[in-house]
Structure formats: C-alpha cells, structure tokens
C-alpha cells in the first residue's frame, strides 16, 4: 500500500549527495585523464559501456544478496579508480577506468535499491537521487579543467561512505517492514504483456538517452551556459518524480514529453526557451524507472539496470554519426518523441483520481 510521498525523503537527499560525488569523480577523470584525440573518442565509449551495462548484473546481485553494501564497495572503487587514473598504480591502459566505471555502477545500484525500497511506491525518492547526477557531471567537468589534484577527488569520493551507511538504514528498515517493499509500484497497464512493457520501456529510455545528446543547443557556448544546461537537467529530473507523485505518473509523462518538443525546436538559439524544453524533457526520467519496477517488483536493482542498458543503447549512435543540419535533427527528435508518447500511452495505466495521499497518521 502507498504511504505519504514525503516519508523517507531523507534517503533521496542522501543519495542526491552520493550521486553528486560519484559523477564529480567520474567526470573529473574523464575530462582530465585522457587528452589525446584517439582517447577522446574511445574512453567515453568504454566508460559508458562499463558504467551502464553491468548495472543489471550488479542490480541482480544486490537484489539477491541485500547484506552486501554495494554503496561502500562503489565508494572504495571510485577512490581507487580516481587514484589509478592520476598515478600509474594499475597495469594496463584501461584498468583504472574500468575500476572507476564499476564503482560508479555500484553506487548507482545501491542508490536505486535504497530509494525505491523505502519510497512506498513513490517516485520522488528516486527522482531526487537521479537529479544529483547532473549537478555532479558539470562540477566534475569544471573541476577537471582546474589544477586540482587527483588525490583531492580521491578523498572526496571516500567522504560518501558515512552517507552510504546512513542511507543503508532506510533500506534495512524498509526490508524489515515488508517482504516486497516495491509492491506498491503499480503503474503499468495490465492489458499489455509484461515482456512488451519492458521492451517498450527500455526503448523509451534509449530514445531519451539518444535525444539527450541530440537536443539542438547552438546557444551553449560558454561555461556558464553549460552550467545552466546541466542544472536545468538536474532540476527537471528531480521535479519530474515529485510532480508525478502529486499529479499522477501518466499525466506528467505525457505532458512533459509533448510540451518539451516545441521549446526544444524553437530554442536552438534562445537559451531560456531551450532550458524550458530541457527541463520538461528531463522529467520523464523517473517515470520509466517506475514502470520497470512496477513489472519487476521483487527485483528493483535489475529494473534499474535495465534503464541504464537503455541509456547505453541510446548513447552508442552518437559515437558513430551525427546530424549536420538542425532540420534533420529536429525531424528525428519529433519522430522519436511521437514514438515515446504512443509507447507511454500504451504501457502506463490510467492515473488514480486522488493521487496525493493524506499524511500518514492523519
């Protein structure tokens, strides 16, 4: 049964910070460690593959063995990965990058497990957790351009351990209260086969992943504008989950995806218009996670892993080709958005009339 959506929001904010540090560490290394042209192409691809794809495996392990703290393992691996990228302590070109990527995957999975299990079927917790990543990406990129030492980031990564341990108590509490803490997630249509719901949800994530790179932003030329872009993305992801809890998942998913389109198209040269589009577009992120958890109620880690596989599949094309005209780019984005709208209309069930539930104890 669903509880008040404000309950256990602390877990979301703890993981907002942990996710922030994770992305700072990863993007500091990515922008600092590999400067030459060949590495600039292959390193982000390897990083994406090793950070996103194994999350389904780590998620499955985390579902089956809840006593293993993947958050702490992730923090240690992140610190080792950053240290290894700064000084040659590991053999091989990509070992440190692989350790860093797996560390990233571990903290993400633990964040998903904690925030989904203690949320009582609400999206706010996981939305706050995912929102922290965008702030971390831009901070990491900016810090990578300063003369800051790798060791500083290494110690910074280790500071997340107390926060991870604190967040872990939310998961322990949720697991003690129910044998299936994610049973309250019930937002997918029962008229569609579960396999089809999963395939369509992963495709929506992949489309989102691709569109995230394909959004026309000719206005983005300075560091301040890039900061604005990432901050808006973070606020969009965060507010998407909170609004879905207040107004209903289906309404927010369909409205944000459809309303983003005109802003994204007309905002190529106008920052303010474009940012509204980016914010609306980012709101659908937590919705797809909720759909997958709704189908895989006993395996939230595996469900989160599916979303990251979708993100990886969506990001692969951008490594190989790009559209050279805004018209072609916009046409593809429009077609993909229509696909997302139809798919979401099919797989998300109708919102309940009174979505916002009374405060517990009222």
């Amino acid at each position: 049964m669903k509880t008040d959506f404000k309950k256990n929001l602390g877990a979301g904010w703890l993981y907002f910070y942990i996710h922030f540090i994770t992305e700072v560490a990863c993007f500091f290394v990515l922008s600092r460690a590999y400067g030459s042209s060949i590495y600039l192409w292959i390193v982000p691809l390897i990083y994406d593959a090793l950070a996103f794809v194994p999350q389904s495996v780590i998620g499955r392990l985390s579902d089956r063995f809840p006593k293993i703290s993947f958050g702490v393992i992730g923090a240690v691996l992140l610190a080792l990965g950053v240290a290894g990228c700064g000084t040659p302590i590991f053999p091989g070109k990509y070992t440190a990058l692989a350790i860093l990527s797996i560390g990233n995957a571990c903290t993400h999975i633990n964040g998903a497990e904690v925030t989904l299990r203690c949320s009582g079927g609400h999206l706010s917790h996981s939305a706050i957790f995912v929102g922290g990543g965008s702030f971390g990406v831009i901070c990491g990129k900016l810090l990578g351009e300063t003369p800051l030492s790798f060791w500083f980031i290494c110690i910074f990564a280790l500071t997340m351990i107390p926060f991870v341990l604190l967040a872990e108590t939310y998961r322990t509490q949720a697991d003690a209260q129910s044998t299936s803490p994610c049973a309250a997630f019930d937002c997918h249509s029962k008229k569609i086969a579960p396999y089809a719901v999963i395939i369509l949800a992963v495709l929506i994530v992949a489309v989102r992943g691709y569109m995230g790179y394909g959004i026309p932003t000719s206005w983005n030329k300075t560091a301040v504008q890039t900061v604005m872009l990432y901050v808006t993305m973070g606020i969009g992801k965060l507010s998407g989950g909170i609004l879905a809890d207040i107004f209903g998942i289906k309404k927010v998913a369909l409205f944000s995806a459809a309303a983003a389109l005109p802003f994204l198209f007309t905002g190529d040269n106008i920052m303010a218009v474009s940012l509204i589009g980016v914010m609306l577009f980012s709101m659908t992120m937590s919705v797809t996670l909720a759909i997958l958890v709704s189908v895989l109620k006993n395996a939230p880690g595996l469900a989160f892993g599916l979303t990251t596989i979708g993100l990886f599949l969506g990001s692969v094309p951008i490594f190989f080709f790009k559209f050279t005209t805004v018209k072609a780019n916009c046409t593809v984005i429009a077609i993909l958005t229509v696909f997302c709208l139809i798919a979401m209309q099919i797989i998300i069930r109708k919102d309940e009339k009174n979505v916002r539930l009374p405060l517990s104890g009222e």
């Binding site: 192409w41 292959i42 090793l50 389904s56 495996v57 999963i198 595996l302």
Partner: protein, 52 residues
C-alpha cells in the same frame, strides 16, 4: 550536403578494434544474462499473481 556524417573512418576503427571487440563481447554477454533474469522474474511474478 548530406544531413548526417560519420564521425569515425575505417582506419580509425581498425586502430581501436581490440577495445571495441572487448566492449562488445562484455555487453553482449550481459544483455543475454539480463534477458534470462528478466524472463525468470516475470515468470516468478506471474506465479505469485496466480497464487493470490
């Protein structure tokens, strides 16, 4: 003018082919494993629903 262009050429891809094969193999193995686990979870969920 073409509406899109490829960002990498054959010479470049052959230079990084070992890395690409390794990444591709790891990803393919994980995709298969994930599909099997998802199928198992769905079957388990159906069984639980039937019992209810």
């Amino acid at each position: 003018m073409s509406d899109f262009r490829f960002l990498v050429n054959e010479n470049f891809l052959s230079f990084v082919s070992d890395e690409l094969w390794a990444v591709g193999a790891v990803c393919a193995a994980i995709f298969i494993l994930t599909a099997v686990w998802v199928a198992k979870e769905i079957r388990k969920g159906k069984k639980d629903d039937d019992q209810c």
